[in-house]
Assembly symmetry: C2
Homo-oligomer: 305 residues x 2
């Protein structure tokens, strides 16, 4: 009785959920191939009356929940594992139609990091891609609000940003970070935490004269006046990347200034060429489920997957 | 010349990118309504020869990039802002067909937090939802590897997890965290950082006797033997939520044990009832772009949006 409740398609709290649940259960074996057989097998064990339940599992029934949770230990160990392993990165990437990556923008203050990253984020979004952009606004006031500007804190700042960016990239997001990140060692530390091809260093290779002439926040003026100490490029070094994956220069081949849009398109183009964006040969889960929603008047139908 | 290059649809690095760029530029005004007019206006200014360029912008042309970047200051200030504001949360939620939220699983060791969260993540994924699950495996070995188990470090552990979860929720992800998080004050600190309705406390309300009987990692046995100090529920308190959004109990109405799948379905059902998951009245960008990809033989076509 207990085991058959576990094995059967569970009674849900609403008809809609029940429908989704039963549909989902029915289709599981045909899509998540490497794992789908496992819960089905657990269900079969349950439905057949728990005849393969280990003595230990049956015994623990007497004390309540422990026994029930043990039902997933019936059979071989993968019965447990299916429920305790997160959705794989590759499956999320398939859902999103892209590959998770980390575009690490680095460059002097005023070099256009945030402007280009924002422009690129809008472009990617309008193409249907899921993005995240980490910058001072959403990091310094939140996660890293306890950090100052000492050497240790600067390194810790970059380390944490790298770890968060890694979590996003692991989820399949096209992840952008926009920080001066002046020290090569800090950036390389993040790179080393990434899998091959995941970390794309984007160097905003804009000369300091240009950045200082722009000076959108008036920071260079203050630094020259001695009002800001340890300002990158003035009295603190900027260590340019030696071999960035993407170098963004301010001029085009004809010597004309490039717009933020042109710079962002350069990066978009690189992402496409390197295969980070939607692979046309691989229909995404999003496409499939969208079509199914389209064809089923709002009721999810996974039968053709 | 400079300004017209900025205004025109930029020359791209590959024909595919050029096509995407021109298509994107053409459709921008009809979808991102609140902002789309801005880049178009900037383009128009550029195409018409920069006749509305401010004297400052024209003057700074002499020193290179600064002048060009100034072009976006032509006209009113929103011309800049469009490029410096990230994609809005609501737009990402529309893309993903869901609302960003934070399911904060809390409960004793062995109460099934990770098992249920993993099960729920698989369910949500198979329904086409974008999820992230933060737990000890991906947090303690990365972002929080510098933290120990002192009172301060435990609080900082939860604070950082909350901040990262907030970043994911802000991106539209259905975000799950699976940590004992025994102290009410720490959980409430995270709740207070969230917007109304964003934080959903999920209490795994499993009695300690049940958890200890399960003891999947043998931790209770070690704690009872004095081999682990400050173990939650043994010699350190667990402060149960007073009013969790979702309380998951181990028994159903008939007194039978509930499976992890049933528990996960309870949460899924709540998410659906509260409107966090796909709103059928609001076609998602993913649906639209999927259909367009379907209908255009691999070439993106946004004309009907």
């Amino acid at each position: 009785m207990r085991l058959s409740a576990a094995g059967a398609c569970s009674p849900a709290h609403s008809p809609a959920t029940a429908r989704l649940a039963s549909v989902r259960a029915a289709r599981a074996p045909c899509r998540v191939r490497q794992v789908a057989a496992v819960p089905a097998a657990a269900g079969a064990n349950g439905a057949s009356g728990g005849n393969s339940a280990a003595p230990g599992a049956a015994a623990s029934n007497s004390n309540g929940a422990a026994g029930h949770l043990e039902v997933y230990r019936v059979g071989n160990a993968t019965n447990i594992r299916w429920f305790e392993v997160m959705v794989e990165r590759e499956d999320k990437e398939r859902l999103l139609g892209q590959r998770g990556c980390m575009l690490w923008f680095t460059g002097l203050s005023g070099s256009g990091k945030s402007t280009v990253a924002c422009t690129l984020e809008h472009m990617l979004h309008e193409l249907g891609h899921f993005t995240v952009l980490l910058d001072g606004d959403n990091i310094r006031h939140g996660l890293n609000k306890d950090l100052g500007f000492s050497a240790e804190d600067r390194a810790e700042n970059i380390r944490r940003i790298g770890e968060v960016a890694k979590l996003f990239a692991d989820s399949g997001a096209v992840t952008m970070t926009s920080f001066i990140s002046p020290y090569r060692a800090d950036r390389d530390m993040v790179r080393e935490r990434c899998r091959p091809g995941e970390f794309l260093e984007v160097h905003m290779a804009v000369p300091i004269e240009v950045c200082e002439a722009r000076d959108p926040k008036g920071l260079y003026k203050k630094a020259r006046a001695g009002l800001i100490k340890n300002f990158t490029g003035i009295d603190d070094p900027y260590e340019a990347p030696l071999a960035p994956e993407i170098a963004v220069t301010p001029y085009d081949e004809e010597g004309n200034m490039r717009s933020p849009r042109q710079m962002a398109l350069q990066i978009l183009d690189t992402l496409q060429e390197l295969g980070y964006l939607r692979d046309p040969a691989m229909p995404t889960l999003a496409v499939a489920s969208a079509l199914q929603r389209k064809h089923s008047d709002g009721i999810l139908d996974f039968s053709c997957l």
